[in-house]
């Protein structure tokens, strides 16, 4: 198909912390160096922030560097962390408070802020637009343009107005080619183009497999008496330990009597009957958590996978004509449970690398190995390197011994122990056969602390234009039944936090997979956890997906 083209010096995919920081830094440097440099950012959400979901405790280190006067510019960093607590939930009603002394250093949050990352991104987008960055919300990048010389030349935006049966509707609008000297991929965890590029350019050949968690979060408004602005609570243990799974929870007290509460389930869990959603729902009933939520009202819900393999799982981030940054590559520091400042920094480094190249007369399309040098010389590398063993230790030894190891390594040796722990297992290969797994009897929702799945999805304000092609592609249409259902009792019914996958009985009495793509929250868990990697998440029509305010 002949497509219209638009050319920019740099095309950025994704308006999250990484992409927006890249854009801002690019334009700042262009202005400093009196360089003509055009920058655009594509964003699949209906607006910047609509698809952003994070805890979030925000470390301002990268922001201090990017926009030092962020306070004057009224960045939405409103609630400074005042108190830090860490708990091991040892049973449904007991908790052990980890004495502050024994908390691994990276988990301390002095000088950090509790934020809505979506609102931080909205604010960053305003700063970017002030610097003449063109931001296009509602325009997902559907495909990468790779030329005959195997160089990334840009991306193609989604075709709009194609019906479910593949026919063009009256309002059909073909996608456009956005051509850039360099393209920066900042799609966040498990970006669908990042995944393709990783395969195409074999970016992960020398890294450990990537690891993921599924974070499910709710925003609550709670009675004032129960609200302690600035209080940050982290922890692990129950209920995930009942099924031998790992993960962690958070509960942050923001401003306006709001708390953000969430549970991250490591996606290497092995029991196919685990439902991260229902684990989260019952987790909230733990007295340590419920004391804050009771009498409150839930105002938002969402879910997003996180990339947490860390240092050893980091793929090569550069390829001809492109750099992959942030969680798209996997720069999250899991020891700190924070990825925003590292994502921002990785984008800023990419911007510096690109400006350096272009101002030296580079015409684009090169493999910017300078990026690696900049990365290795930065605090970002030091931070990720020093917490390299954190995730593997927990995967290897569980939260108790692994946690103890982390305490010793981080607090006594500042991450400089001469050991490297590797985790070479792949998350999607961990599921046990259903015969070897125990079914889990989750309690029913009580409709005051816990809720049914669809009423939660409703609060995410997610929607997709109904008459469009399904954006969850099955490589093999039979696999969900012949393998997933037969061997694992269709785990996608449980790991999807939006009820997208359902096994239904057809007219002929056969069981089949029903995909309710309209509910999708773009969390990418199915793309990650499907045991045979049969599900591929592709971008739906622009503007589809959740509409998170304040998440």
């Amino acid at each position: 198909m002949q497509r219209e083209k638009m050319e920019y010096d740099v095309v950025i995919v994704g308006a999250g912390p990484a992409g927006l920081s890249t854009a801002i830094r690019l334009r700042q440097l262009a202005i400093e160096n009196d360089l003509e440099l055009t920058v655009c950012v594509l964003e699949k959400g209906s607006e910047v922030g609509a698809h952003i979901l994070s805890g979030a405790v925000f470390e301002p280190r990268a922001l201090n560097e990017l926009i030092p006067d962020w306070k004057d510019k009224q960045a939405p960093l409103k609630t400074a962390v005042s108190e830090d607590e860490v708990y091991f939930l040892t049973s449904p009603d007991k908790a052990y408070k980890v004495p502050n002394l024994f908390v691994p250093k990276p988990m301390h949050n002095k000088d950090n802020y509790i934020v809505s990352l979506g609102n931080v991104c909205r604010w960053l987008a305003e700063r970017a637009e002030e610097l003449e960055v063109d931001i296009f919300p509602g325009f997902p990048a559907a495909d990468v343009i790779i030329d005959e010389a195997n160089v990334v030349r840009g991306v193609i935006t989604n075709d709009m107005g194609i019906a479910a049966d593949g026919k063009q509707k009256d309002n059909f609008e073909p996608g456009m080619e956005l051509i850039g000297k360099y393209t920066i991929f900042a799609e966040g965890c498990r970006g669908h183009l990042g995944k393709r590029l990783t395969e195409h350019f074999k970016l992960d050949d020398n890294s450990d497999p990537q690891h993921y968690g599924l974070g499910i979060k709710e925003l609550w408004e709670i009675p004032e008496a129960q609200h302690k602005p600035g209080l940050v609570i982290h922890g692990a243990g129950w209920p995930l330990n009942e099924s031998g799974s790992t993960g962690g929870f958070f509960l942050y007290h923001l401003e306006n009597n709001q708390v953000s509460v969430g549970l991250i389930t490591d996606l290497n869990y092995s029991n196919p009957y685990v439902s991260p959603y229902l684990e989260f729902q019952r987790f909230k009933h733990h007295p340590q958590i419920k004391q804050y939520l009771k009498g409150g009202r839930r105002i938002s819900y969402g879910a997003r996978a996180i990339t947490k393999g860390g240092y050893f799982s980091l793929p090569k981030m550069v390829m001809p004509g492109a750099i992959m940054v942030g969680c798209d590559a996997g720069t999250l520091n899991f020891a700190k449970i924070k990825g925003s400042h590292t994502a921002m920094k990785s984008g800023m480094l990419a911007a510096e690398t690109v400006v350096e190249a272009l101002s030296n007369g580079d015409e684009g399309g090169q493999t910017l190995t300078n990026y690696v040098e900049r990365f290795n010389a930065s605090w970002l590398h030091e931070e990720l390197q020093s917490s390299r063993n954190f995730g593997p230790a927990i995967h290897k030894w569980g939260p108790y011994i692994g946690g103890a190891y982390n305490y010793i390594e981080q607090n006594w040796f500042a991450g400089k122990l001469p050991f490297d722990l590797h985790d070479n297992s792949k998350d999607h290969q961990q599921l046990k056969n259903k015969q070897q797994a125990n079914k889990i009897d989750y309690p029913l929702a009580d409709n005051s602390i816990s809720f049914d799945l669809l009423s939660s999805v409703y609060l995410s304000s997610t929607n997709h234009e109904e008459d469009q092609r399904c954006h969850l592609k099955l490589s093999n249409a039979d696999t969900p039944v012949t393998i997933n259902l037969k061997d694992y009792d269709a785990p996608e019914q449980r790991y999807c936090p939006a009820g997208v996958y359902e096994i239904v009985t057809s007219e002929k009495g056969e069981e089949q997979m029903q995909i309710n793509a309209q509910n999708c929250l773009h969390c990418k868990t199915c793309d990650i956890k499907d045991p045979t990697q049969n599900i591929t998440w592709i971008s739906p029509e622009g503007g589809g997906g959740p509409n998170y305010p304040n998440m």
Binding site: D452, S455, Y458, N463, E466, Q518
Partner: protein, 312 residues
């Protein structure tokens, strides 16, 4: 304190929505007049005169009023309104078309689609497709109001008739004229306008089985709806979908068959007057929203229901 109710009618029959409007009017004042503007509409005036609570009927029977064009009726009501504190109409397409035109002539705000009367100047009305309810107070001396008919009971007819007074026709505006009118003669009422809606869900299992929903709808003269799950599964086309992302319905009777009651669906039908659910799962959320429920196999219950209705 008197009320003028603008009758909604087709020159031969008074729309039942006007009966509910008269009930609302009665809550504001004991002094309720009804205006019947049309052509050859004496029968409408006669029936309006018998409605309980109506003090007087004004009839304007004229060629100019035949099509009840807002451009002609608004100046007529504007003149009459001088004597009234309230002008009310049902929130039908006729009422919604006409009343704002009158409000602007009177230089007052209109209060649309009220669902309750809190006091002489304070009303409740839905915002955001009924997702929130607003209580609004009018600061205008005259109040122009459209009334959501399903929120008020219908006033009843009595044996005594209020006096009927003829009034002079307005001047023809020449701004608009009726070309034609096409009333749908569909065997089934339109989903959003139906008095009874039967909706089917995933519980029906397949497209073929959806036919029993049609059969039940035929018995009751009902419209057919469906849950998003049933639409997604391909049992029925998209435009049958009731719910947050589909159509919002508020019939007198809503029967949900094989629908579990996802909140998206409930959002689209929760304003129905009476909700019935037939579902085999006693824990289905739909039962939290129903007035009457039957737990059991829909393939047994629905045919029984059809038979009982046919034999009645």
């Amino acid at each position: 304190m008197s009320v003028l109710v603008i009758a909604d009618h087709n020159n031969s029959v008074l729309n039942v929505a006007t009966l509910s409007t008269i009930t609302a009017a009665g809550q504001l004042s004991g002094d309720v007049d009804v205006l019947v503007a049309g052509k050859n509409c004496q029968a409408v005036a006669d029936s309006a005169a018998k409605i309980s609570g109506v003090k007087r009927v004004l009839i304007c029977d004229s060629d100019i009023c035949e099509a009840q064009l807002a451009e002609n009726i608004a100046p007529l009501v504007h003149q009459l309104a001088e004597k009234y504190s309230y002008v009310l109409s049902a929130a039908t397409t006729t009422g919604k078309n006409l009343l704002p035109r009158i409000a602007a002539l009177l230089d007052v705000a209109q209060i649309s689609d009220i669902i309750s009367i809190e006091s002489e100047d304070t009303f409740k009305r839905p915002f955001y497709a009924g997702n929130v309810i607003a209580t609004v107070q009018s600061t205008d001396s005259k109040k122009v109001i459209t009334v959501r008919a399903t929120a008020f009971s219908a006033a009843v007819s009595t044996d005594t008739a209020a006096p009927i007074e003829a009034i002079a026709a307005p001047v023809e505006s020449a701004l608009s004229k009726l070309v034609s009118e096409e009333l749908t003669k569909s065997e089934r009422p339109e989903l959003t306008a139906a008095d009874i809606v039967i909706s089917g869900g995933r519980g029906l299992g397949n497209k073929e089985n959806f036919k029993i929903i049609e059969a039940l709808a035929d018995c009751l003269g009902a419209a057919i709806g469906a849950s998003r799950a049933a639409v997604d599964a391909g049992f029925v086309p998209n435009d049958f979908q009731v719910g947050q992302t589909g159509k919002i319905v508020a019939p007198k009777l809503y029967i949900a068959v094989g629908i579990s009651g996802a909140i998206q669906h409930l959002a689209g039908m929760k304003d129905s007057q009476v909700i019935v659910a037939i579902n085999k799962d006693a824990d289905a959320p739909i039962f939290q929203a129903t007035d009457y429920g039957i737990v059991g196999d829909l393939f047994k219950i629905v045919p029984e229901l059809i038979e009982a209705l046919n034999n009645a």
